[in-house]
């Protein structure tokens, strides 16, 4: 038994010697760095699929017409928030093509006149189990939570999480909770869930 052990031990020592060549920690580092690159660079690209809005809507142009966020994104009488405007609203101006922008033409011809609502992509999509009151958050600037699209001529790319189906910008629960905590607002479940 001891004899055998001795021999095995010898072999082990042998291997150690041979291995001097493949430089101690180097391979480890290679693996480590490779993983970091994969994790931080490749993974996000794999995780999200890119989508573009059905129409190149330019907030910039509309703002230049002197419009406020609230001229289209309005509160209803019951205090609920209309969110993205429907055709009804857009057609107040765009019943027919009024400008030269091809995007407008597309809207008018393919949606407004066909009385078809535009399937806008919502950057801050929240699931059914979340109740969010814009009214309660009225005092904040839109851009504190939303992408600052106001000045954009082309709406930003929409990143959809392949696993959860949420938008990349969807606010996570911990973010809501942190802000509530900082502002001394209750974090009870039903404050946000339904």
């Amino acid at each position: 038994m001891d004899q055998k052990l001795q021999e095995r031990w010898g072999e082990v020592m042998e291997e150690k010697k041979q291995c001097k060549g493949c430089g101690g920690a180097l391979p480890f580092l290679i693996g480590f760095v490779a993983a970091l690159i994969a994790g931080w660079v490749l993974f996000p690209n794999l995780l999200y699929s890119k989508k573009v809005q059905p129409i190149r809507f330019s907030h910039k142009i509309h703002q230049e017409q002197g419009m406020e966020c609230a001229s289209c994104h309005v509160f209803r009488d019951d205090g609920s928030y209309a969110g993205l405007p429907k055709n009804e609203k857009c057609q107040e101006c765009h019943a027919d093509v009024v400008g030269s922008d091809p995007a407008e033409k597309i809207y008018v011809e393919q949606y407004a006149q066909k009385d078809k609502e535009v399937p806008w992509l919502v950057y801050q999509y929240q699931p059914d189990n979340v109740f969010f009151s814009h009214k309660a958050h009225e005092s904040f600037e839109c851009k504190e939570c939303h992408l600052e699209v106001g000045k954009m001529d082309t709406p930003p790319v929409y990143y959809e999480n392949r696993l959860s189906g949420y938008s990349k910008q969807t606010m996570k629960m911990w973010q809501c909770e942190r802000c509530h905590a900082e502002n001394g607002v209750s974090n009870a479940c039903h404050v946000c869930h339904k």
């Binding site: 009151s133 869930h193 339904k194």
Partner: protein, 259 residues
């Protein structure tokens, strides 16, 4: 765990002498909260019935026979048996108004809360919500649809509470001090005989304030010390007696609180 105190305490006062047992409250509840229709719904051992109307009888016959109907929502106990037992904080009683919450995406479905609740107010989703083709177009926007395997219960139509607060904000009112009637659960709203009154039992402006203290008012299983926020009213003594346990001696036990 010490029971939490609230400035606003949403409570229900149900007049059992007015309830005809028609079932409109159950229907309204099922509609408001997106409970899928159940094929064998008379088997109450597998149904989801956030609001359930019990039939009480005085066990007499002929011209002496009497029955009463008792609608049973969640009692929203002041000292809930279900909240402290939940291992994953899927339910809490933390918000102004004292409504006991239930969060479906958090619940793991261990059913410990069901074992804890003596009112059978908590229900387990035995199956995924299957609506007949097309009926999902008639889903209410007020309650998210639950997958199978989670526990759910009445929450006084909490989304209506949130909506009432938004309305108040819109009209420049105080969302923390809603007027009587500004917030009504579906069952209270639809009841054709107005047997269900709803409001803040701590607010003198609300009619439930007095009703809850009326001489014929009582609560279910008061002696267990769960301190429910749902009150019942009946002029019939046999009905009131059926609201709580009485020792075989007929003498009520000492009103003893455990918390």
């Amino acid at each position: 765990m010490k029971a939490k105190e609230f400035k606003v305490t949403w409570g229900m006062v149900i007049d059992l002498d007015k309830c005809t047992g028609c079932g409109a409250c159950m229907t309204a509840c099922q509609v408001e909260n997106n409970i899928a229709p159940m094929v064998d719904a008379s088997n109450k051992m597998r149904t989801l019935s956030w609001m359930l109307v019990y039939e009480l009888s005085n066990k007499k016959s002929g011209a002496e026979a009497e029955v009463a109907y008792l609608p049973r929502p969640c009692m929203q106990c002041g000292n809930p048996a279900c909240v402290p037992v939940c291992p994953v904080i899927a339910t809490d009683k933390n918000e102004e108004g004292g409504i006991v919450s239930q969060v479906y995406p958090r619940c793991i479905g261990c059913r410990y809360c069901m074992a804890a609740c003596p009112y059978h107010a908590r229900y387990f989703n035995w199956e995924d919500p299957i609506f007949p083709k097309g009926m999902e177009k008639a889903l209410s926007p007020n309650t998210s649809a639950r997958p199978r395997g989670v526990v759910e219960k009445c929450n006084f139509c909490h989304t209506r509470f949130m909506q009432a607060k938004d309305k108040a904000r819109q009209d420049g009112g105080d969302p923390e001090a809603l007027a009587d009637g500004a917030y009504m659960p579906a069952c209270a709203e639809i009841c054709p005989t107005g047997a269900i009154s709803f409001g803040d039992v701590k607010n003198k402006e609300h009619k439930v304030f007095d009703l809850a203290q009326g001489k014929d008012a009582f609560r279910l299983l008061e002696k267990l010390g769960l301190n429910p926020q749902v009150y019942y009213v009946s002029k019939r003594e046999w009905v009131r007696k059926l609201g709580d346990n009485y020792a075989a001696t007929g003498k009520p036990g000492a009103a003893k609180k455990h918390s």
